[in-house]
């Protein structure tokens, strides 16, 4: 696809880092081109009006000029400042997590409107004081996995293909979905290593995962999960994500620290 020398683009800012004397390298999520890295010249100087103060997590409209390697911002207008989000440290922590997930999973030069809309909506919901950010994080993980092609299979057994019964089942990270007790018991040694990492999945956790995976946020937002069920799906999804990324996420460490006052206290007493 031939591009104009100057072109317009809407984007969400995932990451910023300083380069050169006063420039910034921005990693953006765009609807038409997926993840995109661009340069904002002079963005660190408070006087730089032209390229605007392109802030983390904001939704922006850009005018870009084609560069030799990376394209350069010539004009930036902020469409959503995420003001309410920025005033709350815990919510900033969650926004960092969503941005890190997208940065890790999104592909460059790959149209993904659904992913763009998911992130845009999630950042808006995160700024709403009525939103439970922990529930939103689980909803976001499941929907993101769907949009980037890693949707966990929760409805039929990954081995025999039979519908999953409403009982305690198993989940296999490497297989990418649920295994029924029969397949795990009778064929643990035969299923090409698949069932070896199978761990029990409670019926409540299975129901919660299915609900979060298939419903819209308007329906999900009112859901109340027991602490045990939430802990189970949080651990499962975290292991699933870390398996696919082959790394741990820095923002998860930060969230853990924010969520546990004991960690903060321990730091103080050190």
């Amino acid at each position: 696809m031939a591009r104009e020398r100057l072109y317009r683009l809407e984007a969400i800012v995932l990451k910023r880092s300083d380069i050169g004397e006063a420039d910034r390298l921005l990693t953006l999520l765009t609807p038409a081109r997926g993840k995109l890295r661009v340069i904002a010249k002079g963005a660190r100087k408070p006087s730089s009006r032209k390229s605007g103060h392109v802030e983390l997590f904001t939704r922006i409209a850009l005018l870009l000029a084609q560069g030799k390697q990376l394209d350069i911002i010539t004009q930036a207008d902020t469409l959503d400042t995420r003001q309410t989000l920025r005033a709350n440290l815990d919510r900033i922590g969650y926004a960092y997590y969503l941005a890190e997930l997208v940065d890790q999973f999104a592909a460059e030069e790959n149209e993904n409107l659904a992913l763009f809309e998911l992130l845009d909506h999630a950042l808006t919901w995160l700024g709403d004081a009525a939103t439970n950010p922990i529930l939103l994080a689980r909803f976001f993980e499941l929907h993101l996995l769907t949009h980037v092609g890693y949707r966990p299979q929760l409805f039929v057994c990954e081995n025999c293909g039979k519908p999953v019964e409403p009982i305690e089942n198993y989940f296999s990270i490497t297989t990418g979905g649920v295994l029924d007790p029969n397949c795990v018991a009778t064929q643990r040694e035969h299923i090409e290593g698949r069932a070896r990492d199978a761990q029990t999945l409670s019926l409540n956790a299975l129901k919660a995962l299915r609900y979060l995976q298939t419903r819209s946020w308007d329906t999900v937002r009112a859901v109340r999960l027991s602490a045990a069920t939430h802990a189970e799906i949080e651990t499962l999804l975290y292991r699933y994500i870390a398996h696919h990324l082959e790394r741990n996420l820095k923002s998860v460490e930060f969230l853990r620290e924010l969520r546990q006052p004991s960690v903060m206290a321990e730091r103080e007493s050190r």
């Binding site: 408070p46 392109v54 820095k250």
Partner: protein, 200 residues
């Protein structure tokens, strides 16, 4: 075939690697030095060598310095009850230029940005806590991190961590333009931001 002497192309390449220097400027600087008196080139090369040999990190404030502790931490004329927390050594220079601040500093060497792989453990946060603990004379911390998401998150994090210790904490006034870096703020704006700092 390129007949430019290797010593010349090498210096051009080294200049070109510096921030804000394009190939044309790199060439101009190199040919300037080629024509300049030998003493000038030597002075430059000595200054560069000393930069890496003689610069250390102050064990108290984590600022870059020639001596440890640094000149500011050793200065008896400075107010030891107040510590200004900044992201980078350049921010110390920016605040010093105002001549309005007479307390001490603490340099974090960055801001919290997990998506870039930077968490509190990667900053001089533990050093700050230790410093507070061992210096009961510290009465106020001025949070002077950059007025952007990363800087605000860092300030809120430190507030949550340190406020329970009962120390007065203030944040630079909102006069600073959002999104810009502190090191680029002009002296008047920065002076106003210091004077109008608010409790957090």
């Amino acid at each position: 075939m390129d007949t430019t002497p290797r010593a010349v192309t090498r210096l051009i390449e080294e200049f070109h690697r510096l921030p804000g220097i394009g190939p044309k400027t790199a060439q101009r600087l190199t040919f300037y030095l080629l024509r300049a008196p030998k003493e000038q080139a030597q002075a430059l090369s000595e200054a560069l060598a000393h930069l890496k040999e003689r610069i250390t990190t102050c064990a108290i404030c984590a600022n870059i310095a020639e001596e440890n502790p640094c000149a500011i931490c050793r200065d008896d004329g400075r107010d030891r009850s107040i510590v200004c927390i900044v992201e980078e050594p350049l921010d110390v220079l920016a605040i010093e230029r105002t001549r309005e601040y007479h307390g001490l500093y603490h340099v974090l060497h960055g801001a919290i940005s997990p998506v870039e792989g930077i968490g509190p453990d990667d900053l001089k946060v533990d050093e700050l806590l230790q410093r507070i603990k061992h210096n009961p004379g510290i009465m106020e911390l001025v949070l002077a991190t950059n007025p952007n998401v990363e800087g605000e998150a860092t300030a809120m994090y430190l507030e949550r961590l340190i406020k329970p210790l009962g120390i007065r904490m203030t944040r630079l006034a909102r006069g600073l333009p959002m999104g810009g870096d502190l090191e680029y703020a002009d002296e008047i704006t920065l002076t106003r931001a210091l004077e109008g700092r608010r409790e957090v």
